[in-house]
Symmetry: C2
């Protein structure tokens, strides 16, 4: 029997999806599960988007241009310009989700064995794409105590070797919800220029910035055109994760020409997704206002509920729709599996993503989970009730010194 | 300025798409172009498929399962079973087009530097996917004189080294239209088993077999379950290239588990494509009967027209909707570009794919082109008129000895 490749053996399972079989079993047993494990919002996609697909009147579902439909790219450039990002049509390749933008960027920029520095915790699938591209992730630890702010430049400098070829960030951050400041982005630009590194930025949560805070893109940085690559997706913006439409964006002509060759090999991004995405650019501002209000409310509710629980700590995020909470538990993987396998709170349980999968440092994040606040408030309330009840009875609960003192 | 990767530099442009800028220019100048360069059929997608997308009533465009919707996989397994292929739901991962099935199979099965043997001419993008996976293609030449039949087993044996890990075929063949016999497939199986190789088979043209000839799949081969990987797509079957729905299929559990991890990293295949693809499984047989009749007529017309032209030779294919024709020209790349840049036949010209891109042996296929007979008969007639007229005036025309004798 032929062997699978070394890469295939090393490819990590998705920490967000690996517990799915346990969830399926729990559902079959009749338990209701609150899914806080995956960034799949319950918000409806914009009507204008759904209508465009319904009324597209396509008779032959044809290939599109490998870089995506020209009409869509033209309109998308105007969208970025509204954010003061100097993006033109020719700077854009439409991809099959943000995922493909990451995969193509990795193959375009990095040789096998090259190193990229990524602040951790980071979006778990960066591990998978790095593995697929034989790129080595060098994590740089951001701490829950500082709300996952960017580590100081000196910490980056310590990690730079002759093999370092890039830095990758997610802003606003998944899984941390952290929103980088202009100062932090300028610091990253300085490192990238000094060491001739690519600066890859995943900005799919652009529309989810709270408390009136300013969003700063890598495309706002001046004098770094050849270093900067923006990775984007419509999945969260329009609650359209299944459309599989993203974009790879750069002013670096050589990068774009090479990326297009990878795009040509896979022919084209999905037709219906593009039709919907183009129409979605006409989504009225009121849609986003409503969504932002809803998520602000959800965030406030979840963060407050978490921090009220015994032994739980969760910094308040300024962006995206995730938070990382530290729980009084021995092992997040065991705990999240136990929630699905063994826990039952009035016929309900909650599914969380163990944070271990968002770190590449072994052993990091053992007592942390990622929570996606993508459900309505009632469901979030029930989910928090489940979590609170679970933490009281979980066999691997760590008793903190204060509680220990009270008990003894 | 940071450098692009070596792989990105080596990544070949699509030979089918690299002439697109010249075609765009010709169109802007007002010339009509008959596109025989790309396998983009003009046939309408099945009504049942289009209706399903129109009426899907999706409110939130959600992620699907990374392996594809369970309802679709279940129904798709039944489709294969109608071809007597022993495929079950758990043997299937739905991919974003056949392209992604190839990309995932390459990463799953092969290490960087591993060799795969592919009979050439082969589908040009196999070069791109091999390059992306750092796999070395070892071409084995099939000849136009034999209609591109499988080269003898002894020729395969000559190419096998300790690095050889797989054989890849396309059946029915793109770009050759060749349909492998059971004997040829049994021969491939014997080599695969003897040398412990993966046998990858791209069978996206299953529905396009002519003259009542029998289609034999690698899934029909007995005792090779761990070696065989089927790569499939709905693009041609339902004239739905833009749906971007394919499948990776194998009975090898280890391969499927690893492939799923790659699939998880990219989250899910497109939602609307899956909705359409599932509905398309109910396409009435009359649709395929009509399509087959149409393509048989087109094939017969094109092959006859080509072979009537001075100095042109084109074997009659038994499957797919392509043929490779040998033309009396110096250089297919130059000729195909000249057709777009400099040729004008009553305001019209024809776009062909130079066959050089379908060979990996340098210099092979220099006087060959691939023709996709994907237009209606009137357009095919006009296209053949263009080609015949072009061959008379093309500056790089090679005069064969017979003509030369007549001239002198």
């Amino acid at each position: 029997m032929p062997k699978i490749s070394k890469k295939a053996g090393a490819m990590p399972p998705s920490p967000i999806r690996k517990l799915v079989p346990f969830a399926e079993k729990a559902k079959k047993e009749g338990r209701k599960i609150y899914h806080l494990n995956i960034g799949q919002p319950d918000i409806e996609s914009p009507q204008v988007m759904l209508d465009a697909i319904k009324n597209s009147n396509i008779r032959v579902i044809e290939y599109s241009h490998s870089a995506g439909n020209e009409s869509y790219r033209r309109k998308l450039a105007a969208y970025y310009q509204r954010f003061s990002m100097p993006v033109n049509m020719e700077d854009i390749i439409i991809t099959t989700g943000g995922s493909e933008a990451i995969a193509i960027a990795m193959m375009t920029c990095f040789n096998p064995g090259d190193e990229i520095i990524i602040p951790e915790p980071f979006y778990a699938n960066y591990n998978g794409f790095s593995c697929a591209a034989d790129v080595i992730v060098k994590p740089i630890r951001s701490s829950i105590e500082s709300g996952f702010a960017l580590p100081p430049v000196s910490e980056f400098e310590k990690l730079i070797t002759p093999k370092t070829r890039g830095i990758m960030i997610c802003n606003p951050g998944n899984p941390t919800g952290y929103l980088y400041t202009r100062e932090e982005l300028e610091a990253l630009k300085a490192i990238a220029l000094k060491h001739d590194l690519y600066l890859l930025s995943d900005e799919v949560y652009r529309e989810f910035c709270y408390d009136g805070k300013q969003y700063v893109s890598v495309m706002h940085l001046e004098g770094a055109d050849n270093n900067v690559i923006l990775l984007d997706s419509i999945s969260k913006r329009y609650s359209a994760c299944g459309a599989r439409i993203g974009a790879l964006i750069s002013k670096n002509k050589e990068v774009m020409a090479a990326a297009l060759r990878f795009a040509q090999a896979r022919l084209s991004p999905p037709t219906f997704g593009q039709v919907g995405a183009e129409a979605a650019l006409d989504t009225p501002q009121s849609y986003f206002d409503t969504v932002l209000k809803e998520y602000t409310m959800r965030r406030d509710f979840v963060i407050e509920a978490l921090n009220k629980m015994d032994g739980v700590f969760c910094p308040k995020p300024s962006g995206a729709f995730y938070c990382i909470a530290r729980l009084p538990i021995d092992n997040a993987d065991t705990f999240c599996q136990w929630l699905l396998e063994s826990f039952n709170h009035d016929g309900q349980t909650v599914m969380l993503a163990p944070a271990t999968g968002f770190y590449s440092t072994p052993g990091a994040g053992l007592d942390e989970v990622r929570i996606a606040y993508v459900l309505n408030k009632n469901d979030l309330q029930s989910a928090m009730n489940c979590l609170e009840a679970a933490l009281k009875v979980y066999p691997g609960r760590k008793v903190d010194s204060k509680t220990k003192a009270a008990i003894s």
